[in-house]
Amino acid sequence: MIKGIFYFLIFPGFLFTAAMGCLSGWFDRKLTARIHWRVGPPWYQNFVDFLKLLGKEIIVPADSMRGLFLFAPVTAVIGATLLSVVLWQPNLRTDSGFLGDLIVAIYLSMIPALALIIGGMASRNPLASLGASREMKLMLAYELPFIVSIATVIIKNGYTIRLYEMVQHQAAHGAIIGSPSGFIAFIVALLCMQAKLGLVPFDIAEAETEIMGGPLVEYSGAPLGFFRLSKLMMLFAMPVFLITVFWGGIAPGALGAAVGLGKLLVILLVAVLIKNTNPRLRIDQALRFFWGPVTVLAVISILLTLAGL
């Protein structure tokens, strides 16, 4: 039990994921700044941002549901942490995980978004309501192609839904991303990740210029800090998820860690480039985009997989 708590709180859980998330967030901010021809923040910027928010006054809207409003952000952080713990077990080879942890990981990755929706609803602000509804629709949009792309992975990894066996299978037979069908599925999952992380062009739920942060509009101080932190943690955890299931996972040892870091940076680079070269979509455009071309792409990858490619 003590070991479990350590996993959860320190490594690879909360502290590790939060620190890596802040650094990934810094990579994003720095790169964006360079694209904009600015200098960009120092590496510790996200850490101090979070600490500063912890020290700020917390404003609770008058007729909100207080408990839910305050604990939704905490749940978001817990969800991201749990996701990280489940993902790192196979990568660290500490534990063979459990049967079906892939599905658990998919569902855990939904929790931060869900917490944002519920927190927004609990604040009872009309703008937050709009944002919450957009977040929910966005979730519906990307969930369909995401599941199909994961089905490709399941078939390619020899019908296993255990992350540990997926990593082992890829170590023996080469990464899934190397095959045509695997690559297409990876592209689909990458687009879904972009939406899951709420990065432009899919930052529809928060859309500062339209609905002033959507579900976050009433948040301030520590709860806002938790939501921001959970976003950063997901910015690290979701690429790790893609690396684990599509790209051979992260091998143990210093070399393995370095290669893993390289993979992480590549995925982040793509995400940041997409973010900086696209305007925000409307929610109905996003729905059509994910249920249309992206799902078709995912189905093509399934068909290719079944054809043995």
Partner: protein, 605 residues
Amino acid sequence: MNNIALLTAFPFIIGTLLFLIPKRARGLIETVSGVTALVACLGSVRLFLVRPIESTFAYGISFVIDGLSGLALLGVTFFTLIIILYSIGFMRDHVYHRSFYVYVLWTLAASIGALAANHMIVLALFWGFLGLTLYLLIHIGGGSGAAAAAKKTFIIIGGSDAFLLFGMAIVWQAAGSWDLLGVKLPITSGLTFWAFIFFVLAAFAKAGAMPLHTWIPDCAASAPIAVTAYLPAALDKLLGIYLLARCCLDVFILNEAAHLVLLITGAVTIIAAVMMALMQHDMKKLLSYHAVSQVGYMVLGIGTGNPVGIAGGLFHMLNHAIYKCTLFLSAGSVEKKTGTTDLDHLGGLIQIIPATFVCALISSLSISGIPPFNGFVSKWMVYQGIVEMGQRGGRLWVLWLMAAMFGSALTLASFIKLLHAAYCARTTEYAEAPQREHCAMVLAMGVLAALCIVFGIFAKQLPLRFLINPILGGSDIYLGIWEPSQAGLYIGTGLLLGMFLYGALSLKKGFFRTDRTYIGGERLPESSFISGTDFYNTIKEIGVIQKIYRGAEKKYFDLYEQAKRTFSYMTELLRQMHTGVLPTYLSWVVFGLILLLWILGKNTW
């Protein structure tokens, strides 16, 4: 005296005796019914613990309680107890107060009989009686809506009963025995396949799988909510899925085609019903479509044919009964407090009935399959079963997996809408001084909501080990599955730490400040609020989906309505001949006589 017969007869006799109590002695009626349900509940626990029990009567009629029927029996008696507890608060002022309790106890008796019956004809008898009590219970909703819904239900359920009898006759002819257990009829010929289909139709009609689901939304719209929570949400699922499982595990040995029938029905039911739920504006109707959609998971689980899938389907049956019952009961509390369940007019209840909101939130997360609640565990097992099918060859499993997982996301979406519109939306309509919620109603919902958490976190230690595992011979199919208790520990730790942090922050004076909501610095009029009922209009407006919704609104997919239209078209033809002009009738008679004479004469001469 025989235990099973006693348990069946006891609620029936007490229920009938309730007619002797004066209508005004409402407290006495409630007490007697409650005690009866409690005794039945304890009796079923006893039977469950000492199972398997078999008792034989004359003519080889036997009653058996094994793992499967024992599980359903526990569920049936437990939910009867919960509903009676809730009804103390909910049905108090109802016109048909006494009749309600009588019918509930009769339903209990018939359910116990149907579950214990091993003789097919006896099963059919109790099954038919259940259709009758269902009719009566829907009827006490009053008004023409309830009458029409009751009739529709009776026709669908009764019609499927006829098919069930037909299926039983085929099985009897093929197996030479009326017993359910130990038949194990392989589906080799076309006749046995049809027998299987007939059994399955009866199970589908009862549980509400497509295409025989259409009575559930109508019933939810017009019957009292306590009835909806009792029958379509809890008991009919237990009974229908019991019959389905019995027929798939004991009566038949399924072949590929039979599995395919189940899988297709399951997948279509999940997606189609949840898409309908997404667009509903009435809380009861929204919930009723989910009561249909969730059946899909159970059917899908049993259809996979492997132990983990079947166990998942059965576990989902139990979980569904728990959270759907909670959800309907919370809708009942809303109706009791506001007099409506129309989501367009509701809002702001988070302040007025907070306990109900918490129960509704927990059960909404459960039904959406969010870890660590109970719905997640059973859905996870169904997914596992589906992937295992893929392992053994077969290509279609991707479709089933997509339907199941995407259906889960859609479920979440529609519950976000419900919670927002009913509880969170800003409206002044019901902002009167908070009144206390009725304690019996809160207790009933609280027990069920707590079960959602306990069955989720201790899934492996409690329900799977004691209830589900014994049905499938206690095999170790759960080795190495997710340990929700560990995740529960983590989540608990995280929440505690969050609490400590907020506690530490609040030590500083003036750290928490309450202020009015910020809408760009403006003060919006109270009348302008976002309800949430049209959250998903964006989806409704997408090309193909729009067409399907329009068709559904015109009831094109309602089998009952279609049959009704066909019959009325045919009778219309006949009606047109009835002109009311006497000479016309006379010429018809003469013409008929000539025809008759000609036919008779042709043979004679």
